[in-house]
């Protein structure tokens, strides 16, 4: 009987203890797996969100897009950027607050995203605004908009419906006349948060909705490079030193240094705590198990079992507990991650499409490596007990005891 077979028999000898250990490892392992998914989840998810739509450079007035600062002479700036050889297209984005009248009840508050494209490259004309059309088509005219699913369902709108909107491009206190706009599509907006409602259209539609009171400013210019985003961002910075151009990777890097760093720190601390718990749990279980069997182990040593063999038996028992518990921890961890993701996404200001827990092969590999290390570290003390067990004294004590 090899060490693994022997360890398996030792485990099933006390099924309650074995089940307790395995379930303990499964629970702690699930938490550990989730912490690993969390440590990079936001970064991976944000990178994915930014990369959607094919816009790989973001130009803003502040350090990060969405800082509230606006780019002046935005359309001319986009025009200048679009003429750079490494640029396919530049898209000017401007947001406004809006109210959509409803036949029954209170008007619906929404944000209105206006976008206009500048491209000197024929390939750039294929690019679209950074929202995804679910039904109907994208807005093209100054009297057309797309709305999100929430607005569509709450106001019972479908492509072809008309809405009355009052938009404000400078502040909530503006009193503006209502504008009739035609809904031509239902769209999904990638950075829309849970409680937000969003409409989108051309910059001309936004101007019309705001009564022409828009000015020349924009919140953001999205740029698609011809291939090398770093080179394009550098070219824009050289061309327009007063504004900030960053690749998607650089934006994620900046987010990592600011808001995301908390999640990484929390995840690192909780990973350390969960691994420590797992080590302690298994060490205690194995130590109790070994102490209950000292007489048997001493007898095996007297019968000729080598020190290495009895150490292997303990290590195999640890590996079995951690291995089975670790396997169970994967589905349990994914289930837990899905629940935790839903809870965390309920926080205000979190885009619906952003995920805190994202599965990556790298996280799985680290999970397995940490569990293997746990099995070894947890077995160190009980292995020491059996390897230094005084055979004769233990046999004597067992008889006296």
């Amino acid at each position: 009987m090899n060490a693994i077979g022997f360890a398996w028999r030792s485990l099933v000898r006390q099924p309650a203890r074995a089940a307790l250990g395995i379930l303990g490892v499964a629970a702690v392992g699930a938490l550990l797996f989730d912490m690993l998914l969390l440590s990079r989840g936001l970064i991976v998810s944000m990178q994915d969100l930014l990369d959607r739509g094919g816009w790989d450079v973001r130009v803003s007035a502040g350090e990060l897009p969405g800082s509230g600062l606006r780019i002046s002479d935005a359309v001319d700036t986009a025009e200048a950027i679009s003429r750079l050889p490494s640029v396919q297209a530049a898209l000017v984005m401007r947001a406004a607050t809006a109210r959509i009248d409803r036949a029954s009840g209170q008007p619906l508050r929404a944000s209105f995203q206006g976008a206009t494209m500048r491209s000197a490259d024929p390939a750039g004309s294929r690019l679209r605004a950074p929202w995804t059309i679910l039904r109907g088509r994208d807005a093209e005219g100054a009297d057309e908009v797309v709305v999100d699913e929430k607005i569509a369902s709450e106001s019972r709108l479908e492509p072809g419906s008309e809405i009355t909107m009052r938009a404000s491009c400078v502040g909530d206190l503006e009193a503006l006349p209502a504008t009739r706009l035609k809904v031509v599509g239902i769209a999904e907006f990638p950075f829309q948060t849970t409680n937000e409602t969003t409409t989108g259209g051309t910059l001309d539609a936004l101007k019309a909705a705001c009564g022409g009171n828009v000015g020349t400013e924009a919140d953001l210019i999205l740029v698609t490079s011809t291939g090398d985003a770093d080179e394009t961002a550098a070219a824009i910075r050289t061309l327009l030193p007063e504004i900030r151009a960053a690749t998607n990777t650089e934006v994620v890097g900046r987010l990592q240094q600011t808001g995301f760093t908390y999640f990484r720190q929390i995840s690192s601390v909780l990973t350390t705590v969960t691994v420590s718990f797992a080590v302690l749990l298994i060490t205690v279980l194995l130590t109790v198990s070994v102490n209950q069997r000292l007489g048997e182990i001493a007898a095996l040593r007297a019968l000729g079992f080598s020190r290495v063999r009895v150490v292997k038996d303990v290590l195999s028992e640890s590996a079995l507990i951690v291995g089975i518990g670790g396997l169970l921890s994967l589905p349990l961890g994914l289930l837990l991650a899905s629940g935790l993701d839903r809870i965390l996404k309920g926080m205000p200001g979190i885009p619906v499409a952003l995920h805190f827990f994202v599965f990556e092969a790298q996280a799985l590999a680290i999970h397995i490596a940490l569990l293997m290390a746990t099995a070894i570290i947890a077995a160190l003390y009980p292995m020491r007990i059996v390897s230094t067990l005084p055979i004769a004294a233990t046999l004597r004590d067992e008889v006296i005891g």
Binding site: M1, N2, R9, S10, V12, R13, G295, E296, A298, A299, L300, R301, A302, L303, G304, F305, S306, R307, V308, R309, I391, A392, L395, R396, E398, V399
Partner: protein, 243 residues
């Protein structure tokens, strides 16, 4: 119980010499908080193939310590202990383990069978450690269980066996690798008189088949079956009676 061929015959061992153990002035001193305690003092003893030796004496006189020294699980503090001509004190732990595995069998008062294994698996265990093939192990375990009269209980776990049956399995396990020396520490200590007599008879048969046997016991009836009875007191062999 059937009388079968020698249980040692089917597992090869190292070349036989008549002298197995040669102990010269061996002592064992334990360091205790209250000062050193001498458990075995200047014992000189030779064990030859086929010897049947009983060690008697009052509790704490050093019988079990001497047995453990002979079985290479307790190092001597002084003196020389040769097993098959090899100085035990010069062997590494791994070499001593191998020596015990191949040459020495142990029978304990409390049996120390592994409760999660069947009788057959308990007997197979030392052979498995010695690298004996699965088929050879199974054949040998079946032979040994037949030899100790437990062929019908091969698939029973220790918890399903009586004390006498457990001790018989333990004897079969001790004989698994064909040892030249069998050491038994109070083998009938946990058994009633009738069962103890059966175990004593079994040990006699093992000895008659050629295995040297050293039994530590308080039981005069068991000791009287031996050819040599060593009486110990205060760690020393006080007298030796040869039958």
């Amino acid at each position: 119980m059937k009388s079968v061929h020698s249980p040692q015959a089917s597992v090869p061992s190292s070349p036989t010499t008549s002298l197995i153990v040669d102990a010269k002035n061996v002592s064992r001193v334990f360091s205790m908080p209250a000062g050193p305690v001498t458990a075995v003092r200047d014992v000189t003893l030779q064990i030859n193939s086929g010897d049947h030796i009983a060690v008697r004496g009052p509790s704490g006189c050093g019988k079990s310590t001497l047995l453990h020294m002979l079985g290479c699980v307790e190092p001597q503090t002084s003196g020389t202990l040769l097993f098959d001509g090899q100085d035990i004190s010069r062997l590494s732990d791994a070499r001593r383990s191998l020596l015990r595995l191949k040459q020495i069998g142990f029978v304990f008062q409390r049996f120390f069978l592994l409760p999660m294994l069947t009788a057959r698996e308990n007997v197979e265990l030392p052979m498995s450690e010695a690298g004996v093939s699965k088929q050879a192990r199974q054949t040998r375990a079946a032979e040994l269980l037949e030899y100790v009269g437990l062929a019908a209980r091969a698939d029973h776990r220790p918890s399903q066996l009586s004390g006498g049956e457990m001790q018989r399995v333990a004897i079969a396990r001790a004989l698994a690798n064909g040892p030249r020396l069998l050491l038994a520490d109070e083998p009938t200590g946990e058994l009633d008189e009738a069962t103890g007599a059966q175990i004593a008879a079994l040990l006699d048969r093992v000895n008659q088949a050629g295995t040297a046997l050293v039994i530590v016991t308080h039981d005069p009836a068991l000791a009287d079956r031996a050819e040599r009875v060593l009486m110990m007191r205060d760690g020393q062999i006080e007298s030796e009676r040869v039958r």
